[in-house]
């Protein structure tokens, strides 16, 4: 993990260091077990086809976990995730690269905390945003 980032180090427009993932079908099965989501469209091709999908798809909440990981990697041990919102815009398929990205949209002090808001999204190999969302974090201050 990188060294601790402080509130004063962050400016609106800064990018969050990106996180690249390559979810495999194995990882989808691991997520099914680790998260308790056993919906068949994530590991059974036939079930996926019956649901009108071209094949098994990556769990939305796994993409949310990836986006959260990108941000917790960035904010270090002293940073705290306060809020998270996500919306799924498109399907992602296993064995395709998924890039998590983010950008700082606001910073302010509230209730004694130094808050930073980021827009976050996942991008597929074609550069399309397949998940969009926002995270609000509290960072330590140097003051």
């Amino acid at each position: 993990m990188a060294s601790q980032i402080y509130y004063e180090d962050v400016a609106v427009g800064n990018e969050v260091p990106q996180l690249v993932k390559n979810p495999t079908t194995r990882q989808l099965v691991q997520w099914a077990a680790g998260s308790g989501d056993y919906y068949e469209i994530h590991y059974d091709q036939e079930a996926a086809h019956k649901n009108g999908l071209p094949g098994v798809i990556v769990h939305g909440k796994l993409k949310t976990a990836f986006l959260t990981q990108m941000v917790t990697d960035w904010i270090g041990k002293e940073g705290k995730v306060r809020k998270l919102s996500v919306r799924y815009q498109g399907m992602d398929y296993p064995n395709q690269q998924l890039t998590c990205r983010g950008k700082v949209t606001a910073k302010y002090e509230r209730n004694g905390e130094h808050c930073v808001e980021c827009e976050v999204w996942t991008e597929n190999q074609e550069g399309q945003k397949t998940t969009t969302g926002a995270l609000t974090v509290a960072l330590p201050s140097r003051r």
Binding site: M1, K21, Q27, Q30, W31, A33, G34, S35, G36, D37, Y38, Y39, N51, G52, H59, G60, K61, L62, T64, A65, F66, T68, Q69, T72, D73, K77, E78, K80, V81, R82, K83, L84, S85, V86, R87, Y88, T131, G133
Partner: protein, 164 residues
């Protein structure tokens, strides 16, 4: 038993959300207990591929602000706390429909520490019906709250499921 095509046609013609079904808004599930132990955290963090020392490394986490391992916030984005106890699983009209995860919003108030016992409660917050390309679509919002063993509110979420 109707075959799928007939059922889909029937669904396409009807409104799903009758007054009877709307009365289910507010329905609350039996709480689910989540014991946050190392096995659970290992399964979860390995599934994500997240090796942050705060959730994986005793010695490193001990030096951090919590004095020990905590759970990643995304643990509460997993379905574990809700999927086998959805607050609309008892509504037969929604069950033949296909489903998609529509996302959600989470607010985190306190860390979850290794060894905590978390109680999750879900309630049916809202249901709205829209007409999609494949017929009617029901958007179901659940409110989920998590409390720790000291009855302190840990997090709250509003999650959306799309039934179509």
């Amino acid at each position: 038993m109707l075959d799928t095509a007939t059922r889909r046609l029937t669904l396409a013609q009807q409104s799903i959300l009758t007054d009877e079904i709307r009365r289910e808004i507010g329905y609350q599930t039996e709480p689910i207990i989540i014991e946050v132990d190392k096995t659970l955290l290992r399964l979860f963090t390995q599934a994500v591929g997240d090796i942050n020392p705060l959730w994986t490394d005793d010695a490193e986490a001990r030096k951090g602000p919590y004095g020990g391992i905590i759970a990643p916030p995304s643990l509460l984005c997993s379905s574990m706390a809700t999927s086998y106890n959805l607050p609309y699983a008892h509504i037969p009209a929604l069950q033949p429909m296909r489903r998609l995860d529509g996302g959600g919003e989470w607010e985190f108030y306190r860390p979850i520490r290794l060894g905590d016992t978390i109680t999750a409660t879900a309630s049916l917050h809202d249901m709205t019906e829209k007409r999609g390309r494949l017929g009617p679509m029901v958007i179901v919002t659940s409110e989920i709250t998590w409390h720790n063993q000291r009855q302190a509110l840990v997090a709250r979420a509003y999650t959306t499921a799309i039934r179509y």
